[in-house]
């Protein structure tokens, strides 16, 4: 064993078993990795983390309803709460701590200026139903964001209402349906969706009452134009296509695709999840797209927050511009005005309780202003460069699914693992031990054992090189037949592989007080 100059081991010997299983410490903690019980297991009756004024002695006026006896929440003091959540946070991987190449998710740096701006009381402490005379700056911000989104996409109109990408899809498909209905065309029952689409696309189309017809991909990973044309007809309401697509490729035939859809009387919905590849360089309107959602939490850097909140504005071409939901901002005689009710215009309805994800609008605009037109040009260029670099540095040891150039992400499949006994999942788990968040696995479904890598433009070359070296070494290790190493990974995480089958078989979805839990067990 090699020692450093303080006489300590300088490396953990491979397969030493030192980190396998439970550590043997008295507490179960492992240095900075501290075990943390559930908050409900830290209860002390009467304890609280807030100091509130005394309740005025006034007779209550609850009408017919009785006050409840108890809620059942635990009592903790503030320092305990701070420690609880701090310790939990330390069990998470995050962009702030490392490379997060999760394909199709655009895990780019989340600038803190955006957080500061969103917390200005003029934005964060404003009620959605204040008189419009008191929120002119908020409406101006929404108007500015709309201007940027329309300029960047070349589109005629935008709604900021949808709360996330899938919600934006819903909004876009509703607009398509409303447009067909307005023309008295009720025979269109189908939406075409490529096999490589995000699961939300078919789910959205089905939720809006359409049947879903899948379009196959060509050998070069793109929509099969002839197959698409064969399926187009008077029963097709539209096409939902992601571009660049989920294989990380630009749909070369996109203009011909748009023309074909339009000739058949359908509308072209673009899933804008991958807009980061082309933002500031290509305007979707110039590709013949009628409607597209934009994930502010991908392209425009608003934080993913462990699963939201997102924000999914939708841009519309002239053809669909009348069919947008409320609310929207207009320019009135006394400044900005807000149209809040569908009856006041051609809007098709409402998507959300209030005006959309204002907190995300501020962050996104802060990002846009920081980059400017020149910065966005550079950002999409670097995003595509980074992905192509990773692809070029890995394609001799892993199997790229399609020929490049790729756009902002590169796709590999598991052919390079054939015969090794190592799976895509095993590779991902071994990457975790190397200090990286895995790429997206097993998506898109059009290739076997997919590994979809999206580096984003906010990674340095050094960071990419370290990732590439780790992945190359793992690929070689897999090919050398060291299956057990992979199957035991990850070893160095707060928890090792979790039993997802058991979790689904007998779901435990909440904490239950011990007395109740015992009674249930005895049943």
């Amino acid at each position: 064993m090699s020692m450093n100059n303080q006489g300590r081991p300088s490396a953990i010997p491979a397969n030493s078993g030192a980190f396998d299983g439970v550590t043997g410490t008295v507490t179960g903690n492992r240095g900075l990795q501290i075990e943390e019980p559930l908050i409900f297991e830290q209860d002390s009756a009467g304890r609280t983390g807030v100091d509130l004024p005394d309740v005025p002695k006034v007779a209550s006026r609850l009408g017919a309803v009785k006050p409840r006896a108890k809620v059942g929440l635990p009592g903790l003091a503030e320092p305990q709460v701070v420690r609880h959540y701090t310790r939990l946070s330390q069990k998470n991987y995050a962009i702030d701590s490392g490379f997060y190449p999760l394909g199709s998710c655009t895990m780019k740096h989340n600038p803190r200026l955006n957080e500061k701006m969103a917390r200005l009381p003029g934005f964060s402490d404003v009620h959605p139903l204040q008189p419009v005379s008191t929120v002119q700056g908020a409406l101006e911000l929404m108007d500015q964001l709309a201007h940027w989104l329309k300029t960047l996409t070349g589109m005629a109109a935008v709604t900021l209402a949808p709360a996330a990408g899938a919600h934006g899809e819903m909004c876009g498909i509703m607009a398509i349906r409303a447009a067909h209905e307005a023309k008295g065309d009720s025979g269109r029952t189908k939406i075409l969706v490529p096999e490589s689409a995000h699961g939300t696309n078919p789910a959205t189309a089905a939720a809006c009452g359409y049947s879903v017809d899948a379009i196959p991909a060509t050998a070069d990973g793109r929509v099969d134009l002839e197959a698409l044309k064969a399926k187009l007809g008077p029963d097709v309401a539209g096409l939902m296509l992601t571009n660049p697509n989920t294989c990380g490729l630009f749909e070369r035939d996109i203009i011909a695709i748009a023309d074909a859809v339009h000739e058949a009387g359908g509308y072209f919905y673009c899933d804008g999840a991958n807009f980061n590849a082309i933002v500031g360089r290509v305007r979707p309107a110039d590709l013949g797209i009628d409607v597209m959602h934009i994930n502010l939490h991908k392209t425009f850097s608003t934080p993913h927050g462990g699963g939201g909140p997102g924000s999914g504005p939708v841009v519309f071409a002239e053809s669909l511009a009348p069919y947008i939901p409320v609310p929207y901002v207009t320019h009135g005689k006394d400044g900005f005005a807000l149209v809040e009710n569908a009856g006041e215009g051609p809007a098709f309805g409402r998507m959300k309780a209030f005006h959309g994800q204002m907190g995300m609008f501020v962050r996104a605009l802060s990002y846009m202003l920081s980059h400017g037109a020149d910065g966005l040009w550079q950002a999409s260029g670097d995003a595509v460069l980074n992905a192509n670099y990773v692809m070029a540095r890995l394609e001799d040891v892993m199997t790229a699914s399609f020929e490049g150039p790729c756009m902002h992400e590169c796709l590999f499949d598991d052919r390079f693992l054939k015969g090794t006994g190592v799976t895509t999942l095993d590779m991902a788990k071994a990457l975790i031990d190397e200090g990286f968040h895995p790429m997206t696995m097993y998506f898109p479904l059009v290739v076997h054992g997919a590994l979809l890598i999206e580096p984003t433009e906010t990674e340095s070359k050094a960071s990419l090189d370290q990732f590439v070296e780790a992945l190359r070494a793992l690929a070689e290790r897999a090919k050398s037949g060291d299956v057990t190493y992979f199957q035991a990974a990850p070893r160095l995480t707060p928890r090792r592989r979790l039993d997802e089958t058991a979790a689904a078989r007998k779901p435990v979805l909440r904490w239950t007080p011990p007395v109740v839990a015992e009674a249930l067990a005895a049943e």
């Binding site: 309803v65 701090t86 999760l102 008189p131 996330a164 699961g199 309805g349 020149d374 968040h437 689904a504």
Partner: protein, 447 residues
Amino acid sequence: MRYLPLTEADRQSMLEAIRATSVEDLFRDVPKSARLAGPIGGLPNHMGELEVERLLGSMAAKNVPAGSVPSFLGAGAYRHHVPATVDHLVQRGEFLTAYTPYQPEVSQGTLQVLFEFQTQVALLTGMDVANASMYDGATSCAEAVMMANRITRRKKAILSGGLHPHYRDVTTTDARFIGFEAVALPAAPTGGEDLLALVDDKTSCVVVQNPDVFGHVRDYTDLAAACQAKGALLIVVVTEALSLGLLTPPGDMGADIVAAEGQSFGNALNFGGPYVGLFAVKDKYVRQMPGRLCGETVDADGRRGFVLTLSTREQHIRREKATSNICTNSGLCALAFSIHVSLLGEAGITQLAQLNHTKAVQMADKLAAVPGVQVLNDGFFNEFTVKLPKPAAAVVEELAKRRILGGVPVSRLYPGAMEDLLLVAVTETNTDADMDAFAAALTEVLA
């Protein structure tokens, strides 16, 4: 550009590794007609932090923050005091900049938070289980109706006139496009609707709100039983989650699904979003739920851990057969909710709810003493409706000129109707001086 680490030398050496001549060359699959020659026109170039702060700061300064004046707005969004701890913890990068916890070994923090959040929501609503959040209360409500349609295999929802009209509109919008019937009753500012009479063998659910949009507090125990006797579910909507700290929860009344807005805990007003939708159900309906669910399990060493579970309901597995198309939800807002509820604890939540209620009682009495003003509610939590001798929208504008945000005119929610009604919400943030100032200003405006 400060967010872009590649140097020009990096770019050159990377292009060599790729064997490409230029970055533009990598875009060669884009039809030439659609490729811009350089940075897009019509937008400014990049700015430093200071310039962005100046620009956005000047926009923010044009708004009147609710906290800068006496403010009494509610109607689905409430200004509560959020402890400093909440915003500090949600800004930890490990929470803020993580994705949905698809890799559980490196996401135990987010997953345990979700498990605790689900438990807190279940406890507050009095239900068996809750999911890991929806976009907001209104989308929760619409998803609850669609879930009831799936469970009962019926396609007609009855929406109470006490349901927040925005929640009603989100639900009827879905009804139109998704293909079910939503019968919305007229607004009922003084109550007295007979929902049960409308329930027939095609009815999947009845949707009520507690407290309702006019602030009335109701006991839905009998309605729940009667709906269920007819094979329909009772969905209870809650727009002020703090009321659950004081009132008999929907679960105890027999609700099948609770759809609620959780903004009151941990989340700022934010001009309407992002907020956090709560969604809780009876145990037997778990597999028909929309959205993410976090469950307990063990790892390879037998230690307790958490994973996303029952994902065969979800779009990324089931695609067009999924229970909902929802993917990203309100993770960070759910975290803020959870931290605030943890700080409050049993003692704090009860006291905070009582404080809100008693302050509202005091405010109602002060306003009832203003000549021409009548309080419509017998029972309420922290919000009530008053009838004014003048159109409420104009009164609110006058109050705003006096730097008081005096509630939400009912006509803002129901255009052209009930112009003399005003919704007034009171929280722990309102001081006695605020309340006196409001009553005095209203007296002046109405004089």
